[in-house]
């Protein structure tokens, strides 16, 4: 009888330790509270080229993360990339002429969307479109342009 109680105790401690470890992994390692999907409102931006931008990439304003990219697909009429941006609930008074550009963090880092606030009094809301967008810089284009300029300069 005593022995079986000890077994119960050990199993209970084992299961509790496992669940506690999962809880710590959730809270301390993966920060479960940060930017879950489907909270906040969604705005849309059309980009000529999204480069290496991916879904769930961060959206920052002034370097502070305020949302995530929730979907990227091609608009069949405009032949431009349609990017859905989900902004967290607290940030609901962005000016309606806010501009979006795709940037790279560091030289080799991930790509993210940087928002630059405008000056209009009315705010962006669910489903609005961002009018001013700037595409990702494609390294090959820049190098190509540079070589072309060099070649043109050399002939003079």
């Amino acid at each position: 009888m005593k022995n079986s109680r000890r077994v119960d105790l050990a199993v209970g401690a084992f299961v509790a330790a496992g669940l506690a470890a999962l809880f710590v992994l959730a809270m301390q390692v993966s920060n479960i509270t940060a930017f879950q999907r489907a909270e906040g409102y969604t705005i849309i931006g059309y980009f000529q080229n999204v480069g290496g931008l991916r879904e769930r990439a961060p959206v920052r304003l002034g370097g502070v993360q305020i949302g995530r990219v929730s979907a990227i697909d091609l608009d069949q009429n405009r032949f431009e990339a349609r990017v859905e941006i989900t902004i967290a609930e607290g940030y609901d008074d962005l000016p309606s002429d806010t501009a979006a550009s795709i940037r790279t963090s560091g030289l080799l880092g991930e790509q993210y969307i940087s928002l630059d606030p405008g000056g209009m009094p009315d705010a962006l809301s669910q489903g609005d479109e961002i009018m001013l967008t700037q595409s990702a810089l494609v390294l090959e284009d820049i190098i190509g342009q540079f070589l072309y300029n060099q070649g043109a300069g050399g002939e003079e």
């Binding site: 299961v15 999962l22 390692v29 920060n31």
Partner: protein, 258 residues
């Protein structure tokens, strides 16, 4: 030449027959799991011998795997000035891959082999046949609690392994290598997602638990009832479990993280 083909054919046929027996066996055992609701005490004892007794090796190896990962990762990252990302490297590799896989391999060695030997010896000493004589279904009474215990234990062990690995990496990284502890945690929290990384790791380890438990109890149940048969089945359990876990891990990784 015909000899060789004949041997290939017969070994293929016998392997297929074994696989078929294993699948039918699993279905019967799963169908017999209802018994455990009425007798949770059976499960308790198995959870103790399968889970609690494996805890020591998991704790120790988790700590050391994390510490080594931290050391090796640091030497590569420091060349790029990215040693602040040490936490991300350690946490992602542990939650996604090393936690579930290494735990499953250790589990096969520590608990799977014991399960096979125990059941095989029960068969060799005709305890299983004796149970059947007394109208006690050994699949419900002996096999089902062991399979379910493996299924429950392995995810818990994998989570504990992962957490201790990250803790070991933290201790080595901050105390020995001088990585800033704030950057270690904050970069980790920014990059590791609960749904995509931690939960997928847990799903992996549940599947590994099912596979490891299944192979262990089937090999014991299916072994030749001699001392040589039991020893061969025990070896078989460890080898097959390791191979299946590694192959399954590749498939799961390809499906989960595109």
């Amino acid at each position: 030449m015909t000899d060789w083909l004949e041997r290939l054919g017969s070994s293929t046929l016998s392997n297929m027959a074994t696989l078929g027996r294993a699948i039918l066996f699993l279905l019967r055992v799963v169908a017999g799991c209802g018994e455990l609701v009425r007798r949770p005490r059976l499960l308790m004892r198995e959870l103790y011998s399968v889970g609690v007794l494996t805890l020591v090796i998991i704790v120790v190896s988790g700590l050391f795997v994390g510490m080594v990962l931290s050391l090796q990762g640091y030497y590569t990252l420091v060349d790029f000035g990215a040693e602040q990302s040490l936490g991300v490297l350690v946490a992602l590799s542990l939650t996604r891959e090393l936690g579930p896989v290494v735990t499953a391999l250790l589990f096969a060695g520590r608990a799977g082999s014991a399960l096979t030997a125990e059941i095989g010896l029960m068969k060799a000493t005709e305890q299983l046949a004796g149970m059947e004589m007394m109208a006690v279904d050994p699949e419900r009474r002996v096999i089902a609690p062991r399979l379910i215990a493996a299924l429950i234990s392995l995810p818990l062990l994998a989570v504990i392994f992962t957490l201790l690995g990250i803790f070991g990496a933290y201790v080595v990284g901050t105390a020995l290598l001088g990585v800033d502890s704030g950057a270690f945690w904050s970069q980790m929290q920014a990059q590791v997602s609960f749904a995509d990384d931690v939960l997928n790791g847990v799903i992996k380890s549940v599947l590994f638990g099912l596979v490891a438990g299944w192979i262990a109890v089937f090999n014991g149940y299916d072994c030749m009832p001699t001392s040589q048969g039991v020893s061969r089945a025990t070896t078989q359990t460890v080898v097959v479990t390791s191979l299946v876990v590694l192959a399954l891990d590749f498939v799961l990784t390809a499906l989960m993280f595109d």
